[in-house]
């Protein structure tokens, strides 16, 4: 959560209410379980560790005053690190999805480049898993686990195809979406 909140702040300083709205837009129905307080908790922790600073308080038309947070230099570096770090073969779909959203919003990375790097990572992992699947008896317990791992990686790779289509069609910047 902290990484995601940080990444959303790259585009512009913002308050918790706005951040939560943007997060919900990116997550859709999956975001419905997001506790309203989670974004505010993340912001407080980030402020304590010096990754964000409270810039000002905006008076909203009605309701409470809103604390507007901005990234510090350390926070910016942390976002760059988060976008670049490989997620691990069996990482959560949502985290990678949010990385793509954050990359496009912040302009700190090219979503399609992240898709390509992830695909290379998953392909290498699937090669390992599939190699083992063909060696092991599919009826054995070990073979059953390997089959599950291989199916999971295959599914993630298929989803990456969809990511590639969507993000190349959007072509937020860079060379454009002519290869979509």
């Amino acid at each position: 959560m902290q990484d995601v909140v940080l990444a959303l702040l790259v585009k512009r300083p913002s308050h918790g209410y706005d951040l939560r709205g943007r997060l919900l837009a990116a997550l859709g129905p999956l975001g419905e379980t997001l506790n309203a307080g989670q974004v505010y908790v993340a912001l407080t922790r980030l402020e304590k560790t010096g990754l964000v600073v409270r810039e000002r308080e905006d008076a909203s038309a009605r309701g409470p005053r809103r604390k507007v947070y901005a990234l510090t230099e350390a926070g910016r570096e942390r976002v760059a690190g988060w976008l670049a770090e490989p997620a691990g073969p069996l990482a959560e779909v949502a985290e990678f999805h949010l990385k793509l959203v954050a990359a496009a919003e912040s302009g700190m990375a090219e979503p399609l480049a992240l898709v390509e790097a992830r695909r290379r990572e998953l392909r290498r992992s699937l090669a390992e898993a599939q190699h083992a699947v063909l060696i092991h008896d599919t009826d054995s317990e070990a073979g059953l686990l390997l089959e599950g791992v291989a199916l999971r990686l295959q599914a993630d790779l298929r989803w990456l195809e969809a990511c590639e289509r969507t993000w190349s069609a959007r072509a937020p910047y860079g060379e454009g979406g002519e290869n979509g």
Binding site: P89, E116, R119, R123, L126, A127, E128, Q130, H131, N179
Partner: protein, 265 residues
Amino acid sequence: MTTRGSRWGRGLSRRGDTRDQTAAGPVLRAVGLSRVYGEGESTVLAVDGVDLDIPSGQTLAVTGPSGCGKSTLLHLLGGLDRPDEGEVWLGGQRIDLLGERALARLRRRAVGFVHQDFHLMDELTAAENVELPALLAGDSPRTARHHAAALLDRVGLADRDRHLPSELSGGQRQRVAIARALVNEPLVVLADEPTGNLDTAATHDVLRLFADLRATGQTLVLVTHDERVAATADRVVSLRDGAPTEDTPLAAGGSQLGALLGWEG
């Protein structure tokens, strides 16, 4: 591997009509390969300026969504279709400029095809299907029979040699088709969605067979939309709109499986 190499080494030096790219060069090479379908405003660039070097003994998987040009590329590489632009080199010989008969002859000897729907002759037995390309290439019936029997044994179907395709399962039919593709000791085996019509168990059989082929040094190009099939290759090239977008070397067997589960490093 060595028999295949020497056999082809002799054949090529005898021809002597092209620049030999030497034994160390790629077995199969595409240079600026393009293929256009249709005319006027409805033209489709099925293959768009593909450069590809496939070294001897490599298993290459070409993946991509349907319509990305991967089958067209395979047909160009195997001399089943001719490019509008570019060159195809097979075993050091440029093949895209050959006449129809010379190309057909070369294809029969140097290329083994495996198709998604097997393409076996329904009225011939498994053994006869495997023998047929050897007979067409000029082998004696005895040599052809001998070869076919050895190959059916190699694909685990020695006891099915007299069965008609209709008496075999899909996986068995595809293994007969693979034996047939190998009967003339081709320089390359080209497979177009070889597991597309097979269930999981039969797919695994075919993939194990390909792994055995790789161990003998057989060069293999397989076109597939299935990442699990592609994962068994040495290298994966992704095609989008007729052009390669990624070229990933794979090295399986490093047993980093623990890392998959996050229990290492």
